[in-house]
Symmetry: D2
Subunit: 361 residues, 4 copies
Amino acid sequence: MNFASDNTTGAAEEILAAIAAANQGAAMPYGNDGLTRKVEKKIAEVFEAEAAVFLLATGTASNALALSVMTPPFGAVYCQAEAHMNVDECGAPEFYTGGAKLLPLEGADGKITVADLENALSRTNNGVHAVQPAAITLTQATEAGTVYTVDEVKAVTAVARKAGLGVHMDGARFANAVQSLGCAPADITWRAGVDVLSFGATKNGALAAEAVVIFEPALAKDFAFRRKRGGHLFSKMRFIAAQWDAYLHDGRWLHWAGHANAMAVRLATGLMKVPGARFSYPVEANELFVVLPGPVIDGLKKDGFEFYLWTASQGETLIRLITAFNTRSADVDAFLKAALNHAEAYDGGHDGGHDGGEAQA
Amino acid sequence: MNFASDNTTGAAEEILAAIAAANQGAAMPYGNDGLTRKVEKKIAEVFEAEAAVFLLATGTASNALALSVMTPPFGAVYCQAEAHMNVDECGAPEFYTGGAKLLPLEGADGKITVADLENALSRTNNGVHAVQPAAITLTQATEAGTVYTVDEVKAVTAVARKAGLGVHMDGARFANAVQSLGCAPADITWRAGVDVLSFGATKNGALAAEAVVIFEPALAKDFAFRRKRGGHLFSKMRFIAAQWDAYLHDGRWLHWAGHANAMAVRLATGLMKVPGARFSYPVEANELFVVLPGPVIDGLKKDGFEFYLWTASQGETLIRLITAFNTRSADVDAFLKAALNHAEAYDGGHDGGHDGGEAQA
Amino acid sequence: MNFASDNTTGAAEEILAAIAAANQGAAMPYGNDGLTRKVEKKIAEVFEAEAAVFLLATGTASNALALSVMTPPFGAVYCQAEAHMNVDECGAPEFYTGGAKLLPLEGADGKITVADLENALSRTNNGVHAVQPAAITLTQATEAGTVYTVDEVKAVTAVARKAGLGVHMDGARFANAVQSLGCAPADITWRAGVDVLSFGATKNGALAAEAVVIFEPALAKDFAFRRKRGGHLFSKMRFIAAQWDAYLHDGRWLHWAGHANAMAVRLATGLMKVPGARFSYPVEANELFVVLPGPVIDGLKKDGFEFYLWTASQGETLIRLITAFNTRSADVDAFLKAALNHAEAYDGGHDGGHDGGEAQA
Amino acid sequence: MNFASDNTTGAAEEILAAIAAANQGAAMPYGNDGLTRKVEKKIAEVFEAEAAVFLLATGTASNALALSVMTPPFGAVYCQAEAHMNVDECGAPEFYTGGAKLLPLEGADGKITVADLENALSRTNNGVHAVQPAAITLTQATEAGTVYTVDEVKAVTAVARKAGLGVHMDGARFANAVQSLGCAPADITWRAGVDVLSFGATKNGALAAEAVVIFEPALAKDFAFRRKRGGHLFSKMRFIAAQWDAYLHDGRWLHWAGHANAMAVRLATGLMKVPGARFSYPVEANELFVVLPGPVIDGLKKDGFEFYLWTASQGETLIRLITAFNTRSADVDAFLKAALNHAEAYDGGHDGGHDGGEAQA
């Protein structure tokens, strides 16, 4: 029973079936096959836009390549301090942009705020001596498991636009965000001021399928060359396209994300009943960050549940739980039952009542 | 009936079956799963060596990353002028090495010669002003469809070693070369002086599976970071590992390459009977380069056979034919029959006898 | 009367005379002349070390090239948040290192603290996903006009050493620091754990003369190639060497720095008498950061004194004053007299007594 | 008596005097001083154009930065095979462009020909797999000591323009070329299709002074950031500006180049009388490449004359002689007298008459 990451899951059966089905006869390589063309169009249609679409296979490549067309090497890209690009990609953005600088903003609940961005921009009057503000990247859903509302995205992109910045959205968990918001994909992207989206499918049931969706045509010009140069143009591209074809078929992508989100709610609701549990952030997608008493965490680990530990600022221990398209409700219930048992054994009376914190279940 | 490239083929059924079989339960991401560990070991065993093995998904990434650990940014890498890295990767080697310089050598039959390399090295006494010789890369089988013998590799690597150069082998069609030579994989790699091999499976039946095999331990130190930074560390790595597991199982990789090579011989043998046909290079693996009379080429194209045209130096037209693990002998025979028919229609007596050139069938 | 920067000063007469004297006959280019060789040796002798010395002409080049031999492209370099390299070099360190990441530490009084560094290092257990700690850079004298003591440097470098980090010192104002400390140059560099020093002369009377001094031989291997590749190998190198020759002659460099420091003390001592003046940092070299009442600042500007304004955290206005090798005491006195006059006019009784803050005069 | 390079000369007295004269009072740093502004304008006036001008101090920086605004990282830049940028700058162009690829063209007499360029461009139909043709660079005067005529430049740039390439001119010896042609600087640059010029002064009497002159406004946008980022923005810029001010004053730059060219003619005329001498290229600027009998070369070396040896294609030995703004005619005559003496001693009758080859004196 693994709540460590949506990367530990395998792929959905429908995805594997589509790969097998695509394995018929010869097809032009490097994305010049019919299925790739069809899927590129299909993705643009999901966004009701004339977007340029580029298929990829890893989120790191998708994000780093997206930034590479949005900033010169001497540019600055604002990001939330804990953004995957800033802390978890071994410098991929710096590599692909030729050395641009990520400038971290603290934000709140994993989101960049208007105040943060305005404050940072106000300090950039250093002429040729400083890196030049070029772009901003928002993670949706965020690393904290929260989701920017349409209005929040609009407010931040308005500031960015005024300052001449391009707007990137890291959508490794975009499906979870859209499902959570219940809006059209266009509403939270280009209609809200986003220029380029890294649209992930891998964490939500695909084997290895990502796409960069470029809404601003001028930014699409160089992408194909940079993708090739980065070693990310697949010769047998039809097998990535096939995954997308299956993923988008009949709303599966939102259905799968909906299941993951529902499992997160089920976890959150149950954890609120565990004495001493406190949520660090609202639970709005498929990630939960929850402070638990040490003995409860130890017990869960001993039971074989897998999840990551975080260090909370006050020295408490935080755990991160992630649900996925294929998380079983029985596993969630087993986890909750075990947590309650450990809490009782540890003496629930320790500090009295439960504390559901900010979780919105 | 497609002879355009071994990239136009799909994947072998055994490969897809292995992917499906790997899709059981949760697995640690980013290559920390058991299957990846097992396959890394298995690949090293194929080479009877304590090699460091890194799984990848594209040949471009494999080659460019391999070079990135073999040259400083101010280094020079000698390659055959038509090497894929020099002309077909949109500058990926320059990107990954931070701007190292590929220095092309003409060679013969697609191979770098000792004389070429010695001559080039003799002109490098320019101190700090010139890029510094750092490595050499050999393509095995070559872009010309030829195969370096063990002695040829040893002769070139001896010169390289003396000059302090690292030796890389681009093995996008390594299986075809090994099957053609009938030697042990170790004999044509580390025992012959190769430090790093890009070991390809994609062109020979895999969906997307490559590996960098590092025989010189000191060169392995940084590889994992560079792979991650390039966006080439797959989260669901088990699906690349599964392909390798199936590929190496019970000698399948050599069996598949053997089939491709045999189909190339069948093509070559038949084409020798076509009046006006002349081979540009010996046929030693699964690629054929053959000059044909224009009307024959036109006729074949009109029949729907797919292949690429090359411009020969004398203004003649050359066609490239590639066979693969799944090329059917019936398709080969249909191609040969059509070629003979078109040649007869065009008047076989045009310039008399056939000319099988250098082809060794 | 210009207190804006030590960059606004010209060059010392002795420096220009040395350049003219070096202009005799032909000399081998690119640093292969006798004067350059002599000066490289002379600089090593200043540090009582077998150091490798490379002459340069700008501080940006000196710093960025120094880092480029201390970190791989996937490395992290710890710096104080306000370090010139982090905020004032338009991404030069990222450019020269191939995209390494500067990780800012807050520190105190412009200095990195042991606690800061230890805390940052304790958060680096992210395997291949994070940039890899590679180096630390200390600015001496700091951007705040303070000076690390020998013990402070030793304490920080001990932590760095234990974590396997290289240690760089940005010595754009190294002369001012050494003069302030009264120690041997070796004591505050290699004997205190510094591997590479960017030794500046430009701000202290040279026309354009910098040197990278490498105490750790392994780090010197690639430097000459990187300098050339960056366009920083001067053909008529003797003219940079001549500046160094004059600069180091008979202790001039410390004499000049001593004058600049003395002028800073004279300014600080005088400013303590200005009602409302408050120093942001101890004055330990040739830079002063002092909060002054708005009307005083306005008055000084109107009088034609040149200096930069800073925004203090509490919304107050801070001014930065820099003294140089050729600052005249009469100019300092004129500045002080004007400041006092403006303060009196503005009503010295506004908030009573003077407040000399932390300034150590 | 040094004919090794125009880099071995010192600086003209007028240049040093201008530096001394600029050393008055404080001046805004980083090129924000009046003298720099004046000189930028003055250089534009030399070209009768609204050019953007950027001062620099080395030719390597000038060339590499110029290319960096003319090609994307995945671009190709055509150059003559022996161009300094291709063989003598340790990969600086690759570094500054982020890994663009220099594609060498053979040309004739050191010049790129229309046929060469057209042939190369005709082979670039490889889609996303190849680097993308972006620019061409011409060296004027060439590495062979020849000079492109206005018509030759126009013919090549017309082909470049049609293919969408930017045109760069490496003018390390631009003064020698202009003086040789007797045309207006504008005629051989923007009026002939050049977009960006690297305008050198260092080899012709300056201490360290170069300028990039951008005629195409769109290319100027990023230059200042790239210059800073490369570490090439000098804080005490006035001292580079001062050199330019003196260099351009009253036609000095052409006067000095004229002297160097005249000394080259004097050398060429004299060498034609040396039995066995044969010129490899026409002598059109200040460089001579001449085949001499081995004993003559040995004798000259023994006499203490300094020059570089080249290997001619036929195994003969070639010497390169370079004259400069300050070459004395007495030194030229001494060289010629010695050469004649050695030739006579060696037995002038060896192979009969003299052979002045292609030299146009």
